[in-house]
């Protein structure tokens, strides 16, 4: 016959396991802390002013937002200059496309990968007109390649 657990053993075990539970919970809390609950960061919506200042057939580099703004006969489009490989900023050369200085990824004028390690094409960003009539690019919001914005 199994001996009944003695009161002293029971209390000892209970104390031990509550200590373990308390330490475990505390440890989980400690581990939880470094994962940010709020992700701080600047607002990545950029007002670019009057649409008329961008001539048809030009490209403009917007440093603050890390993207290029293009205007041709069919309208505006904005292509992110953040390389999809490891986040460096690509450079744009007229008619040659984009090249990344860090690991040699290359993209054509439409932002499609044509060489190097980049896993995906450059993002096309959403363009809207702000309530005050300015041209506005939302760098957090992607649109499909080829989407043009008409003023």
């Amino acid at each position: 016959m199994q001996e009944p657990t003695r009161r002293r053993d029971f209390l000892g075990l209970a104390a031990l396991w509550s200590s373990i539970a308390a330490l475990g919970t505390a440890f989980a809390g400690v581990l939880r802390l470094p994962k940010p609950a709020v992700l701080p960061g600047p607002l990545r919506v950029y007002k670019l002013g009057d649409a008329a200042q961008f001539a048809v057939g030009t490209s403009t580099r917007i440093d603050a937002g890390n993207f290029f703004l293009f205007r041709d006969e069919r309208g505006f489009h904005a292509i992110s200059s953040v390389c999809t490989h490891l986040g460096c900023i690509v450079a744009h050369q007229e008619d040659e496309g984009f090249a990344c200085p860090c690991h040699g990824s290359r993209f054509n004028e439409q932002g499609t990968v044509i060489g190097g390690p980049a896993p995906a094409g450059l993002a096309w960003l959403e363009i809207t007109t702000a309530p005050d009539g300015q041209l506005q690019v939302n760098a957090e919001s992607q649109v499909t390649q080829g989407t043009k914005f008409q003023v």
Binding site: P34, K35, P36, L39, P40, G41, P42, D63, A64, N66, H85, L86, G87, C88, I89, A91, A99, C100, P101, C102, H103, G104, R106, V113, I114, G115, G116, P117, P119, A120
Partner: protein, 509 residues
């Protein structure tokens, strides 16, 4: 004696008493016996055993690399604390505070240079130390676990270097954090390819943990600062303690079992080896063995002063090297961090350029996959190669030396051929523009070279029927690959990561 007299007498004698109470032996030791006693009565000295084998003190066996590592860590700790006095971990102030340290703080430039050179020395020494331990077979039983600890120390050393060069918040720092945190998020490449990122976003989690935000800024700098000055140093100190402790407990430095017995020096005389005549009671209840039992004090000399001299010599050497280099060469500080334009090319310090070359084939494979495979392979070596022969002999003998040379040739030739091919003809995406990313992750120059090295090692295993030879082949190949890739990234890659024979050929822009 009146209490007043006693008080005055005690006061007069107190310097003597303080010294006596500080040294457990009571005075500076005069004889070997007293030196032994002082060694094990002192917290710091008792990390090492009282007697050291003569073989362990041979320069050509260790090249003092472990001691140089410890010494450079000491130098780094001292200079690091001095730098912390002026450094300000804020994105607005960090760069200026480094400028202050460089131009205004008395001796600041010199201290910063020493910190930087000691860090480079530590990285060089940690690789050489690992190679020494590997090629002398010192990872074998009972030292397997200490090899793992050493591997941890290697990773921590690289981690400390990485977190260190981020702190000045110059162009190098900013883009290194950007690239590093994106490598941390590169498992996304894989989850994306399988379409499961929504449920299992390991990459995103790691990136958030490192940056504390979705972009590189103040939160990231503080996190890397805490890692560099608190967490990583604490962990590396603890692991160094374990590493040293295990050296002692595993029987001192490795040496050939078959080596002819050398007499021990006791007092002024050399005493021939003697077999122990009594049994050691403790041995019956404690598993494992201590260095002396069974081999008596064979071949050993007192650690004080012989080992202490060696340690002091390594410290002096390390400091001398750092001082000379620091006098002639300043630590670099690039332009202030500019999130709009990376440098072209944006290069990491030399020891990460091999990785940068791999990353330029595939972010996930180069940054996570292949380093993971290499670390796993290195960690498993002592558990796969359990043949106890050849410990303490360079390359384990003539056959190993041959394997070393043929593997060096194969390792160099294959990686050079592959790089030449890649530079001339490009890789899969250049021929099939629409190829899925998962194929590139699986088959790129990095994975191909790993596969070639593993096949070579397996072929050596079949040919020699020896796991040790196979391990030597694999390790040598990876060493050769590491050196070639590092040279490739450092010398032969220019703007846009294009191939150039020499930096002077880079286009002017």
């Amino acid at each position: 004696m009146t209490p007043t007299q006693e008080f005055l007498k005690n006061l007069k004698e107190s310097p003597q008493h303080i010294r006596d109470s500080m040294l457990l032996v009571g005075r500076l030791p005069q004889t070997d016996r007293e030196r032994s006693q002082s060694t094990f009565h002192n917290l710091f000295l008792h990390m090492q055993s009282v007697r050291t084998h003569r073989h362990s003190l041979k320069f050509a066996y260790t090249f003092g690399l472990g001691l140089i590592l410890t010494a450079s860590f000491v130098v780094l700790t001292v200079t690091g604390i001095l730098l912390m006095v002026y450094y300000k971990p804020s994105t607005d102030l960090a760069y200026q505070s480094i400028k202050d340290i460089h131009y205004v703080v008395p001796a600041g430039r010199f201290i910063r240079n020493i910190h930087r050179w000691a860090a480079h020395l530590m990285v060089v020494a940690v690789f050489l130390h690992m190679a020494r331990v590997f090629f002398t077979g010192s990872y074998k039983r009972p030292r397997e676990f200490n090899w793992l600890i050493g591997l941890g120390l290697l990773v921590l050393t690289l981690g400390l270097s990485f977190t260190g060069y981020l702190l000045p918040w110059d162009q190098l720092a900013y883009w290194a954090i950007t690239i590093g945190s994106n490598i941390a998020s590169s498992p996304r490449e894989l989850t994306e390819a399988f379409g499961i990122t929504k449920w299992l976003d390991v990459g995103g989690f790691q990136k958030q943990l490192l940056l504390g935000a979705n972009y590189v800024g103040q939160e990231a700098l503080i996190r890397f600062y805490v890692l560099h000055v608190a967490l990583l140093p604490l962990v590396i100190t603890a692991l160094m303690g374990v590493h040293f402790w295990r050296i002692r407990k595993d029987g001192g430095l490795s040496r050939a079992e078959s080596a002819p017995a050398v007499p021990a020096r006791i007092g002024e005389r050399d005493v021939a080896v003697f077999e122990p005549t009594k049994t050691y009671g403790l041995m019956a209840v404690v598993r494992g063995r201590t260095p002396v039992v069974g081999r008596a004090p064979e071949g050993s000399v007192p650690s004080w002063p012989n080992l202490l001299w060696a340690e002091m010599a390594a410290l002096m050497f390390t400091i001398a090297v750092c001082l000379v280099l620091s006098y002639f060469s300043d630590a670099p500080l690039k332009e202030m961090a500019n999130p709009a334009i990376p440098e072209n090319p944006a290069k990491a310090p030399w020891y990460f350029l091999g990785l940068q070359e791999l990353v330029s084939y595939s972010a996930f494979m180069g940054g996570v996959g292949i380093p993971g495979i290499v670390l796993l392979g290195l960690g498993l070596i002592p558990y796969l190669d359990r043949d106890p022969r050849g410990v303490g002999v360079w390359f384990g003998g003539p056959q190993g030396r041959r394997t070393f040379w043929t593997s060096t040739a194969f390792g160099l030739a294959s990686v050079l051929a592959l790089l030449a091919f890649t530079v001339n003809f490009g890789w899969l995406r250049a021929w099939f523009p629409t190829i899925p990313q998962i194929v590139i992750i699986a088959i790129n120059p990095g994975t191909v070279i790993v596969a070639m090295y593993i096949s070579w090692s397996l072929w050596i295993l079949r040919r020699t029927q020896s796991l040790r030879m196979s391990a030597i082949a694999l390790f040598t190949c990876f060493l050769a690959g590491f050196i070639v890739l590092t040279a490739m990234g450092s010398i032969f890659r220019g703007p846009n990561w294009h191939f150039y024979w020499w930096p002077s050929l880079w286009p002017v822009h």
